[in-house]
């Protein structure tokens, strides 16, 4: 069943927000939260092993149950009122693809280990104690009261499910069904306020907290599920002790995946593997069961993630390096050691950093301690280079914000260009960060989330919203869009202007402004320059340097508990974002995609997966702790034997040994091949296997490509 849930929260929120106009803001938000919980119908489906469905069955049902929002409600929202702090005009940044991001209502990563071990009651106790602190300000107490109020929502929700289970049990004809429903009822009367005692209760508890988290977000995306096989393991063992079979555990997992797929959007991560407190491999029976369930359910959500370390057992890696999983784009591999170092690079002790978690598709977070702005800021990395070469002006249009960097038009060497680049990038980042900070602050004050504050370390002791200085850590991801294109542009400028002295910066400007029309020869030369991703030291050096500048500036800009985390993450935005962006100096034409994630620019001639991994391994990814994936395509047939799987496993481990944070390996399908046939330029590194050899697909002529695809389809059928 697909329940309507997401949009509706928004609709209700607008309707309810004024009922408590007389209350302090945090208390008003707590009341809205409770009202939303009350408003939601909950469901238990036949065969459900735990409770967790919520939302309306149809639009009509929803409209009938809740009247449309009051007249003019939108206009009455707090941020539409006079006196609401205004923001500086940064239209100039946005006009050039530099987006400082919006207010991030989501991306909170729960610390399920803590939540389960103490139950939600622990927070009630802590807040009540904090309220007794005589040194509290009035404002702090108001916030603490709101947190306590929001905690009422926990039982409101769990009892709703309990009541439903009870009613259904009474009507159940089958004794087994009744037993199942009564078990759900009993659990929902206990957890998550009280700590769970076995696997079933723990999943029920965690899932209820997850629902509450998304309801409090007023949107239901980006709620991840953390190191599931680790924090759930004690409960798994407890269940085993009671005689619960692995098949029963598996059935619960399957329901969990199904439900996450329904509510998780495309961004709920769940992870397996890693190490324990003593650095020993943490893989356990539950990890294997989770993989088995994933292979059975074949769902794209949750995002299945694996934490791999030097001592990850071969058998475990073999299970993960699987054709079934790769064909659906699962799992994503993370390096235990490198990610820990990346998190530590934010100034967190390495011992503590070992508790890092994966949130959504690439965020590395400290669960339950961090306000993690995952939507982040999009940085047009090429813009400062345009300003540098073009005397302070972008290649197209104008830049209507004052810049202090003295314009320059001639350069003695590439180092001077880098210096100028740094200076402009610093100014642009300042504008974006200042805007972002003000926006987050004013929204956090207008729409605080007392419930998430309960679950975020230091918000209780500070009595503040996570975004308003309450959270121990406050991080903003800075997506370095087109970093590989920018790096390639630097490499080309260095080669053609300073080394070969064949061209001047003006030639680059003229050609890019003409979108290379009439400059085809020049563009050919650009394309022949070394590029990032080919294991070329020079080109990779440029990428390293561009990234080092970005990292330094981000570090320089940190203030209070706020840090800015460079990331090479683009997701699919390499295409969308690229559409609105004019030509670059690396030969990329207007509107073309930019490089994807930590991968090379689309124009780069590829030298194969090992070269790509060597290049990406040269980047200082540890300082790029906003996270990034490297995407690699391999032939699915390599996954058919243990020997083949071990090779891919070794390939992944090599990337991590070289310094990579995250890698995504995709198996070839006939669908991919067809796409590569239609758009060869997007698949320059696609390797296929014929007659015992690997060859680039693009080396074939079209006739051969067609034949290959035909054969592939037949074999796919044969293998199925």
């Amino acid at each position: 069943m697909n329940y309507l849930h997401d949009l509706n929260i928004f609709r209700f929120r607008k309707g309810y927000v004024y009922e408590w106009d007389n209350l302090p803001v945090p208390m008003r938000e707590a009341k809205v939260f409770l009202k939303l919980i009350e408003a939601y119908p909950v469901h238990i489906e036949p065969d459900d092993l735990f409770a967790g469905w919520y939302g309306f069955k149809t639009e009509e049902e929803m409209t009938a149950a809740y009247p449309p929002e009051p007249e003019g409600a939108l206009e009455k929202l707090p941020h539409k009122q006079e006196g609401f702090p205004t923001l500086p005009d940064i239209g100039a940044l946005r006009a050039h693809g530099f987006h400082p991001g919006s207010y991030d209502t989501a991306h909170h990563e729960n610390d399920y280990r803590a939540i389960l071990s103490g139950g939600m009651n622990q927070y009630k106790t802590r807040i009540s104690e904090e309220l007794r602190n005589p040194e509290n300000s009035e404002e702090k107490n108001v916030f603490l009261e709101a947190m306590l109020e929001s905690l009422k929502g926990v039982e409101m929700l769990s009892y709703k499910f309990a009541e439903l289970a009870k009613t259904m049990a009474e009507q159940a004809e089958d004794a087994k069904d009744r037993e199942r429903l009564l078990r759900i009822e009993a659990a929902c009367r206990k957890v998550p306020m009280e700590p769970p005692e076995d696997f079933f209760e723990a999943v029920q508890a965690a899932y209820l907290v997850r629902i509450l988290t998304s309801i409090s977000y007023v949107c239901c995306v980006s709620v991840s599920f953390g190191n599931f096989d680790r924090y759930m393991y004690p409960y798994y063992l407890a269940s085993k002790e009671k005689g619960v079979s692995d098949d029963e555990i598996l059935a619960i997992l399957l329901q969990l995946y199904r439900i996450l797929d329904n509510y998780g959007g495309n961004d709920c991560a769940i992870s397996v593997g890693g190490v324990d407190e003593n650095d020993r491999d943490a893989t356990n029976e539950l990890s294997f069961l989770m993989i088995r369930a994933e292979k059975m359910s074949k769902l794209r959500s949750p995002l299945f993630t694996a934490r791999i370390h030097a001592g990850t057992p071969k058998e475990f890696l073999r299970e993960l390096v699987s054709r079934e999983l790769f064909e659906i784009g699962q799992p994503s591999f993370y390096s235990e050691e490198r990610c820990r170092e990346a998190v530590a690079s934010r100034g967190i002790a390495i011992e503590e950093a070992r508790n890092w978690n994966i949130s959504t598709c690439m965020n590395l977070v400290m669960a339950g301690q961090e306000a993690a702005h995952g939507w982040g800021c999009k940085v047009n990395t090429h813009l400062p280079l345009e300003l540098a070469l073009n005397g302070g002006q972008p290649l197209s249009g104008t830049f209507d914000l004052p810049l202090k960097t003295p314009p320059k038009r001639s350069y003695a060497d590439i180092d001077e260009v880098y210096d100028q680049y740094r200076s402009y990038l610093r100014e642009l980042l300042h504008y974006a960060m200042e805007w972002q900070h003000l926006e987050t602050k004013r929204m956090a004050q207008a729409y605080p989330n007392p419930f998430i504050a309960v679950l975020t370390e230091d918000c209780i002791s500070r009595g503040k919203d996570r975004w308003d200085g309450g959270a121990r850590y406050h991080n903003l991801v800075m997506e370095m869009m087109g970093f590989a294109n920018t790096a390639d542009a630097f490499t080309a400028i260095d080669a053609l202007v300073f080394e070969q002295k064949k061209y001047t910066p003006d030639d680059f400007i003229a050609a890019a402004q003409a979108d290379y029309v009439g400059y085809e020869d020049f563009r050919d030369q650009l394309l022949r320059c070394a590029k990032y991703g080919m294991n070329n030291e020079k080109a990779d050096g440029s990428a390293r340097r561009v990234l080092a500048i970005a990292s330094e500036l981000c570090e320089e800009m940190r203030a209070e508990n706020r840090r800015y985390l460079p990331s090479l993450h683009t997701l699919w935005d390499d295409v969308h974002w690229g559409r609105g962006i004019p030509a670059f100096f690396d030969g990329r034409r207007s509107g073309e995609p930019v490089n994807k994630n930590a991968g090379p620019a689309t124009l780069a001639r590829r030298a194969g997966p090992t070269a790509l991994v060597l290049s990406a391994g040269r980047l200082d990814q540890i300082r790029c702790s906003g996270g990034q994936a490297l995407d690699v395509h391999i032939g699915a047939r390599n996954l058919d034997t243990d020997a083949g799987r071990d090779k891919i496993g070794a390939f992944i481990k090599t990337y991590f040994a070289l310094g990579g944070l995250q890698i995504q390996v995709n198996a070839l399908s006939s669908e991919t091949l067809q796409k590569a046939y239609d758009h060869p330029e997007e698949y320059p590194d696609l390797l296929v296997r014929i007659g015992g050899h690997s060859r680039y697909f693009n080396e074939f002529d079209n006739d051969m490509k067609q034949k290959f695809i035909e054969r592939f389809k037949i074999e796919e059928g044969a293998d199925a």
Binding site: K647, A650, T654, G691, G692, D701
Partner: protein, 301 residues
Amino acid sequence: MADGLVFDIQHFCLDDGPGIRTTVFFKGCPLRCIWCHNAEGLSAEPQLYYASEKCTGCRKCADVCPENVHSFRETGHDVDFLSCVSCGSCADVCGREALRIAGRRMSAREVLKDVLADKPFYDQSEGGVTLSGGEPLMQGDFACELAELAKINGLHVCVETSGYCTPQTLRQILPFTDLFLFDFKHHDPQLHRRFTGVDNRRILENLRFLSENGKELILRCPIIPGCNDSEPHYRAIAELSEELCGVTAVHIEPYHPFGLSKYRAVGRKAAYVRDELLDRRDAERIRDHIASLTAKPVVIS
């Protein structure tokens, strides 16, 4: 310290021996197997390689060619391969990379440097380097030097060979080779000569020599419809694998036509033209059949 002629160095090869490997393709082959799918490996000289689908017809190549190899008609871009002296000028100006010179003279150290770039992958996967071609042992000294250097650097070394070489060459490379991927194309001497241009006696002698010297061998058997897809040949494959204790596995390589475009690219005519691939199911039947005759593992490569 002879330079060698190499037409490709391919990284991330997963099928040419254990682990992740880099395969070095030596240019030149003494055999002329009619089904050869690596046309650029045949000639022992550098040669022009023209990928017609990449050509935009800009005619820059015609402007620089001293031998008037490139001409343009209504039918498109004509390449007179016979007149080409492989000077490479046209490849330098072709912005589309439609032209290149296949075959580069390289020292063993140069090749090694390229191979060692992937050392981290070999270390992690217990992989290494594979010498292939063409026929690597046709450039015996160069092959031995490269294999020796690779060994010194701790790499696992595979040699993929037709087996058609002098016993001296084989003896020379033996200590630096961990595994031979050894072709077995036809059991019948006459037919072997007919399909490959050479007799199979020396090849079989070499094969026995390697096995007797305790070398690990994988038999690589192309299955070519109409040439060697016959019961006696399957039996011969099985018998040989049983007889030679060095043979650890048999690899079946079913025919595919994907090498045909390479003939066009180097201006040669393919001697064996068959558009269909060997059906996967047929290949599986052949595999299972051979496997029923030998205790050694038989896999489709």
